[in-house]
Amino acid sequence: MTDTLERPANALNVVGTRPVRPDGADKVTGRATYGADLTMAGMLTGRILRSPHPHARIVSIDTRKAKALAGVKAVVTGADFPSVDSDEAMGGEGGGSIRDLARNVIARDKALYDGHAVAAVAATSPEIAEEALSLISVKYEVLPHVIDVEAAMAPDAPVLHADMFTAGLPTKPDKASNIAQAHESKRGDIAAGFASADVIVEDRYVTAATHQGYIEPHACVASLSADGQGMVWCSSQGQFMVRTYCAKVLGMEASDIRVIPAEIGGGFGGKTTVYLEPIALALSRIAGAPVKMVMTRDEVFRASGPTSGSVMEVKLGATKDGKIVAADVVLKFQAGAFPGSPVGAAVMTTLACYDIPNFRIVGYDVVGNSPKVAAYRAPGAPIAAFAVESAVDELADKLGLDPFKIREVNAVRDGVQASYGPTYRNIGYVETLEAARKHPNLLAKLGPNQGRGVAAGFWFNIGGESTASVNINDDGTAVVASGNPDIGGSRASMAMMAAEVLGLPVEKVRPIVADTASIGYSMLTGGSRTTFATGMAVTQAAQKIVEDLKRRAAQTWDVPVEQVEWMDGSAVCIDGAKRGQALSLADLAAKSGNTGGPIGAQVSLNAQGAGPGFGVHVCDVEVDPETGHVTVLRYTAAQDVGKAIHPSYVEGQIQGGVAQGVGWALNEEYIFDSAGRMENSGFLDYRMPVASDLPMIDTAMVEVPNPRHPFGAKGVGEVPIVPPLAAVANAVRDAIGKRITTLPLSPPRIRAAIDAK
């Protein structure tokens, strides 16, 4: 349980400024140490043998030849891992259970997708490891496969898991199914709502599976010594998450595994689970030496991530004045090989921007023979927003309304009950709409073949468990340690919040990311929680230090502590015989031995009260009618950020989300051949946007403070990927005069739409 601190009485000196990022120099000079950069004496190379079949029973695995190869130190298969039967949930990030996590790390009786790990080796060189893989003989019984979400839902579809019965139905079905769970959310009388509508729009929307696309592949070094003590160095979104999952998959005690976080080269949700780390530990246990494993890009695509492909049906009804009176939404999401698509979150977010009296939202979590999906920024929300924001645009078009007007008429405000249940408080959606509408970019006139699209988006943002410590050095500088990998600027924001409270220049605060043995537990970096929750822990730790410093100053002056205030980094005596005297932090630190010893504080908390975020985006495009190529001319992203701790980082988060969303809208997709194998598992064929594909992404930060955070912060990292899919689609619709309801809006698809006129 946490309480909000009083906002510091003084004006902010550090929060809201734009200092140089503490990790910047190392990153641009190549000195930052990523997951693949560690080398240890005697280190072995680990490699994984992956299934070439999307669905196959593993009849046998013969590893004898591989084990006999000179230089091979360890070989493992699923049989070398304990049977994990726990249906304990993995936690909120990726969905699914620990049992499924274990079976995704390495296949047991069945391979469930092309790329599913079936065996692994550790050898003295990469070449020997590769040769060893070729010597492993796996006998498969190939089974019929299914990837398309609607095909997987069909009654005659090949069933992946014979023990899976659709959850969330009033009664348990008597037949196994690929539909893992059905979700439903409803309010009011949907039939009466549609009956009162003057205009109804209805369409079917399709999105492809897309990858988070982090530049750095999954990579780790693991060492498990003879006494059972394990060390893992890896790139992830949470060192504690890696420790927990490795312990559960391997049947170890958490205290026997220490995870040291490496720098992370992008995660976006995709590094909220484990793939290599348990295998590397298992290999190391057998080999008695450290094992390094690094995925190739092909492996990253085939065996990690992605997010769901989907089929969605949306029906909206509105009165002539634009008021939406009824909505009916069906969301069918691919989960990949194991349950856990983000359809539940999609059900909750899909109408979260709107105050609609009558609605029904149904979602299906559907397994199929593709990689198990992982979280991806605002999981599920961009997909659902593509469908609903496209439909809202169609509704506006039919009613002859401005796209901002229809969103304003139906906008949620403080006091309105969210579609997912609670009543909104301290939200800034209307302000964000207004900021987007008033942006100078909207004064630009559109030419031939050009179009403008508007879309809105929502994400909850979360708090959760965090630990942070602040320690003062003897020269009066400070070290801030947290348990959260820095994926979006958290080191800078932690240092800034500590500096603000302590009254130090931010350059005198060194932020670090501590390992699992050096600081208390923190939930992983995700859900746009770190600046909010861990920032709260940092602020409270710094506040504790200030109270301690006041006590030490009072002791030094021999005055009551009530006569001491903390002002601009110094203790100041405000009354009595010592009135006007000051002791700086450096003064007090230098004499800390005389006043009680080292100066430091640690705070562990479970932060509550994260404020939801809203974004409104405007995209201008030009479509080449000859080629179908889309050029993004201008992009404007407005967002309620609560309070921007480091505005440049916030802008960067918004711009990054937009870039990923534009790629999702225009080009990115998993393409499978008829045999169920991914055909485009590399960046040449899986087309992500590069700098030359995008204009400057202009941002407008709206600051409606969250009163539960000491500085008013709200999470910012996920909202910006929610609107772009629909904003781009609505712009293309405006440019070519025809709605395309299937993503990506690739040149062939746009040409086909133009030709169909």
Partner: protein, 82 residues
């Protein structure tokens, strides 16, 4: 008396057709115990799978949180993120 609304399908099967409850409990922990007593399995499901929104503010894993008289309590599936 706090008024509790159960959202989503995750725990719905335990409560039959009922989605709204008035409870006596003055904390989240007591509310969960009360619901478990009325609908066996529901409290356990809530504890494992749901977040609790109290008067519009979402709490995750906050058993000790107080439920003010007349509070709006909404049980929603736990939220993660990327």
């Amino acid at each position: 008396m706090p008024h509790v609304v159960l959202m989503g399908s995750d725990c719905a099967a335990f409560a039959g057709e009922t989605r709204a409850f008035d409870v006596e409990g003055a904390t989240v922990r007591r509310m969960i115990a009360e619901l478990e007593a009325r609908y066996p399995g529901l409290g356990d499901c809530i504890e494992r799978r749901m977040s609790v929104a109290i008067d519009g503010e979402i709490h995750q894993d906050a058993l000790g949180e107080a439920l003010p008289e007349g509070a709006e309590v909404v049980l929603i599936p736990k939220i993660g993120g990327g």
